[in-house]
């Protein structure tokens, strides 16, 4: 059972993402604050992180940067969920070390598809 960690400052979004993922059989952890999320991520790295970019205090970009600096968080697959649909924003996030990018508003089906794909890729890498 893959464990997905959802980080978003919007409780409704967290709720939605958790509902979608749980209904598809994933184990879900959530956090609405960047700092505490980072601490929890590093303490116990999940199989995948769903990360919102625009958050108060510690935003998604910063969180991603700090996560990648730590050995424990360096290889965790990260799927960025953001309202920024600009191509530059996407590229910037990917350069910072995100593995994929999904724009709001997205359909649950698309989200699940991307999550599965990322997990498969990461699994294949671990086995190789």
């Amino acid at each position: 059972m893959a464990r997905v960690f959802v980080v978003d400052d919007e409780p409704d979004m967290v709720d939605l993402l958790a509902t979608i993922l749980k209904s598809d059989g994933f184990e879900v952890d959530t956090d609405t604050d960047g700092r505490s999320a980072l601490a929890r991520l590093l303490a116990d790295p999940p199989d995948l992180v769903l990360l919102d970019l625009m958050m108060p205090d510690l935003d998604g970009m910063e969180l991603l940067k700090l996560l990648r600096l730590d050995a424990k968080g360096a290889n965790v697959p990260v799927l960025v969920v953001s309202a920024r649909s600009g191509h530059q924003d996407q590229l910037g996030t990917l350069q910072l070390g995100a593995n994929a990018y999904i724009c709001k508003p997205f359909s649950p089906r698309e989200l699940v598809r991307q999550v599965r794909q990322l997990l498969e890729t990461s699994e294949a890498e671990t086995n190789a």
Binding site: E10, N75, P77, A83, S85, H87, S107
Partner: protein
């Protein structure tokens, strides 16, 4: 055509030289003509006086000495002749016209004894000889030269008039003098011309030196040395010009400073606007995501079964959330297009097939809901276009949205993509054909205008703000492509989007040839990258 450059100094010098030469030539002409006249009159006056004075003396000499004293007569005549340089011939003629004595050169002929006296035939001359007054006239000699003839009658104490003196005078001496003065004038003129050249060049140089200083100042400003000024102290128009120029430079510097400040402010504003757009899009999109996600879960029964009625309601909600999402994205895109005049920064190779398939996936639930058939025909080989994927996606999203929106239940939306040349350039032509209400021909040209809608009431009926097609046109034109539409009312509309292959240089031509990729695509259409 290039025009030869003429120095200002040369031009001014030419003007000065021209003025001086004209005045010199004129004064020389006046001098020669008037002098000529005056010198001749002077000669004529002295000739008349001389003839009147010697007439009686010469007649008396002839009377006293006669042929017996010929030697003495010759001497006396020679003495009389020396009194006037211009005399050519002296004759004593009696009133009947018989010549008594003729002195010509050193030769003195006394007619009478043995030598037949010649007679004067000219009636004019005869009348003058028989008259009592001294007369003079210009005559032409046998050799064609001008001469001055004076007739001075010798009238004795008791009114006795037997002889007259006929003196013929030549202009030769006078003309010789005039000729020499003419040569002198020419010499003076030549020297004058040389002087004029020197003086005019010097004078013109004095005037143009300031102009050169001013020109150098202008060049410095042109080179960007804006702090430099021109200093001219000529107290004339050129100084005023220099002052005006300095003032202009000051204002230029001030304006540039103002523009820089204004530009900085604009940049700040632009950044603020960009931030605002990002925030607004975040604020609008997050709730939309929540709505969309839950509606989809509900529709698919992920949250437990609900009644048929509720499912229909949820479908309506989904459709409207979809529309709202499109509108929000449209606004964001439009604000971004307004902000970036250059779209080159975000270009990369895109696969049109993946983009089209992705969009169609987005539309599938809505088309199923609306009962619209959908056909996609894409030429099997894929093309790699240099484009901004996000914007190209927006183009087809908007066109498909329109097509679906205006196609009634049971209608068909057809998407065709194939390689096609347009205006001698290679590219891809995408056709989006609907079986909708169609667009009247008069409206067809205006549909790409911003905020334009065929029928204002259609806003309520079909939604949208009339931004979609203007955005399509902006994006396609930024990619140096073309977009146009054909339509028949009641049958449907077809929108054509043509995008060129290859690299879009500044000149719109392809650099390095078309980048056509022929292998099959792997169908992956998400922005997945390996970290």
């Amino acid at each position: 055509m290039t025009r030869r450059r003429v120095l200002l100094q040369t031009r001014i010098a030419r003007h000065i030289a021209f003025a001086v030469v004209v005045s010199l030539v004129l004064s020389a002409l006046v001098l020669v003509v008037f002098r000529h006249h005056a010198v001749r009159r002077n000669m004529e006056r002295s000739a008349l006086t001389y003839a009147s004075l010697i007439s009686e003396t010469l007649t008396d000499l002839v009377g006293f000495l006669g042929s017996s004293g010929k030697g003495l007569l010759d001497q006396e005549v020679a003495q009389l002749r020396e009194l006037n340089d211009d005399v050519e011939r002296l004759e004593i003629v009696d009133v009947r016209g018989k010549v008594v004595l003729r002195a010509e050169g050193n030769n003195v002929i006394l007619f009478g004894d043995g030598i037949e006296s010649p007679m004067v035939a000219d009636r004019e001359l005869l009348r003058a000889i028989s008259g009592l007054e001294a007369t003079a006239a210009q005559v032409t000699e046998a050799d064609g030269s001008d001469a001055y003839r004076v007739v001075a009658p010798v009238v004795r104490q008791w009114g006795e008039h037997v002889y007259s003196l006929v003196g013929t005078f030549t202009y030769a001496n006078v003309d010789r003098q005039l000729r020499s003065s003419l040569w002198l004038s020419a010499l003076i003129l030549a020297i004058g011309l040389g002087l004029t050249h020197w003086v005019s060049v010097t004078l013109a140089g004095g005037i143009t030196r300031d102009v050169d200083v001013l020109r150098a100042g202008v060049m410095r400003i042109q080179e960007g040395r804006l702090e430099e000024r021109v200093s001219i102290d000529s107290r004339d128009e050129i100084e005023e010009l220099a002052d005006a120029f300095n003032l202009m430079a000051d204002e230029l510097v001030a304006t540039i400073r103002q523009l820089r400040e204004a530009n900085r402010e604009l940049e700040t504003l632009d950044q603020t606007k960009a931030d605002l757009v990002a925030n607004v899009s975040h604020e609008l999109k997050t709730p939309l995501t929540a709505l969309r996600g839950y509606l989809e879960l509900m529709a698919e029964g992920g949250l437990g079964s609900i009644s048929e009625e509720s499912i229909r309601a949820v479908m309506v909600c989904r459709k409207n959330v979809e529309r709202l999402s499109l509108r929000v994205e449209e606004l964001v895109q439009l604000s971004r297009l307004d902000r970036f005049t250059s779209l080159d920064s975000a270009r990369e190779e895109i696969e049109l097939n993946s983009i089209l398939e992705g969009i169609i996936d987005t539309f599938r639930p809505r088309m199923e809901g609306d009962g619209v058939h959908f056909v996609l025909q894409v030429q099997p080989n894929l093309w790699a276009l240099q484009a901004n994927p996000e914007q190209i996606e927006r183009v087809f999203l908007n066109l498909l949205d329109n097509a679906v929106k205006f196609t009634p239940k049971g209608g068909t939306v057809l998407v065709l993509a194939e390689a096609c040349d347009h205006e001698q350039r290679q590219g891809v032509l995408v056709r989006i054909q609907d079986s909708g209400v169609g667009i009247p021909p008069t409206e067809l040209v205006r549909i790409f205008d911003r905020f334009y809608q065929v029928d204002p009431s259609s806003r309520r009926r079909f939604g949208g703000m009339g931004l979609g097609l203007s955005l399509v046109r902006s994006i396609v034109e930024a990619h140096r492509g073309a977009v146009w539409a054909e339509s028949e009312e009641g049958i449907g509309s077809t929108f054509f989007v043509w995008l060129p292959f290859g690299d879009f240089g500044q000149d719109g031509t392809s650099r390095g040839g078309p980048s056509v990729r022929l292998e099959e695509a792997d169908g992956d259409r998400t922005a997945v990258r390996e970290a």
